[in-house]
Symmetry: C2
Subunit: 224 residues, 2 copies
DNA sequence: TATTAACATTGATATATATCAACATTTCTT
DNA sequence: AAGAAATGTTGATATATATCAATGTTAATA
């Protein structure tokens, strides 16, 4: 496999010249993770950035007393950098696979070198970084100013519309994960989801979740 | 007043050459705001970045139903950019003066031009941006995983140690502001502060707040 | 298949937090 | 100085949320 012909590299890397891609090619390593395996661990040294080729993973902050806050899910062909790149070369969040996932680790020094020499690339990197920061601001508002049904509705709308882009998705994500993305306890998450099912807004079967009433869900998101 | 000799410009700008500073000089405007005046308004077009020369201001997200989330306070010689620079050239947060404040507005095109040509400057800009993003991550954990006393303790420790760097500070910040920084209602903020006073952790007089027991405050921050 | 371990569910209860209403104080305006 | 407006304060009450305990279900493993 070759970076130049690879069609599952992050959009960021399509801005590179063949020469630059060749440099990436020589300084990357591809790894396949199984569900539950840790791709990145918060608090460890950052030696590589990541391009997700295949699969799905959760990106989360490890908080207080083993509680996690899931910031977002990552899927092909997302790029995973992080604020440590320019700060302290540490990982400030963890990433764990939710299904079998193939990712490329790219040496951070090569990455930084290319940032300096290719301004199209660095502009797009800044855009990606800015989008993530803005998303964090929105999370902050939603998680602190809405109550549980509104927060869970935000999480589900995110999954249906942004991650899976479909009105049904396979239940690769646990109830605990849904709770961790919505800043509530697992018990509360289960109860809120039960309410949504009773109101025929979603249906949850053994292996998938189906969005039955998008309008109702959006309304719950709005009114908090 | 001249940017080259100015000793209250943001540290960022000390990395510029005299030539670059001259360009800044020709494309900046200095404005003095009085307490309560809006320096930046969320949702409007971003035409300038800001360097704070004198004073104190609150930087906040405008949330749901007129509720605000204060992200941080800005003081001399902070730089104020924001995720809009590389995204959509819009302001994603508002900034309001808490006391008489003098700030310089620097044309964003000039700013972007210098970013491209001076890598010391762009590296330091990235550091500043990353620090703010990391701070937002920490806020997200503290605000969603701690209860009210822990959140208020975080707010007060931030004010004493990071903003004023003193065990007392003038009450330029209202109870509503303290509530908005701690993600709680004003009523609740008043009650939590009353509790801290009853436990002799702080003292609040007409015009200042005094930290009496730093250890106790840190403990409340820890145990949430 | 038996056995654990992880994950899910539910109702009851306790706790945290917001809201409300009434009032006090300060600040601003005329 | 008077009035109005903003801000601060408090206790009572209602609501939201977490925790707990009991139990069920599914998935991993021997």
């Amino acid at each position: 496999m070759n970076c130049i012909s690879c069609d599952c590299k992050s959009q960021l890397f399509s801005l590179l010249t063949d020469e630059e891609l060749d440099m990436v090619q020589k300084n990357r390593v591809n790894v396949v993770f199984r569900p539950g395996e840790t791709i990145r661990k918060q608090g460890t040294a950052m030696t590589h950035v990541i391009s997700v080729n295949r699969g799905l993973a959760k990106l989360y902050l490890e908080g207080i007393e083993n509680r996690n806050a899931i910031l977002r899910l990552v899927k092909p062909t997302n790029f995973i950098g992080g604020p440590g790149i320019y700060l302290d070369m540490m990982h400030h969040y963890s990433v764990t696979a939710l299904m079998e996932s193939s990712v490329c680790f790219i040496d951070i020094h090569v990455f930084k070198k290319i940032i300096k020499q290719n301004s199209l690339f660095s502009d797009e990197f800044m855009k990606d970084f800015s989008r993530n920061t803005l998303a964090a601001y929105n999370r902050l508002i939603n998680l602190t100013q809405k109550q549980m049904p509104g927060r869970m509705a935000d999480t589900l709308l995110y999954l249906f519309h942004e991650i899976f882009q479909c009105n049904k998705f396979p239940m690769l994500i646990s109830k605990q994960d849904l709770a961790d993305h919505s800043a509530m306890s697992k018990d509360s998450a289960v109860k809120v989801l039960r309410g949504f099912q009773n109101d025929a807004i979603i249906r949850i079967t053994d292996n998938e979740m189906i969005l039955l009433d998008d309008e109702a869900m959006k309304k719950i998101s709005r009114i908090g």
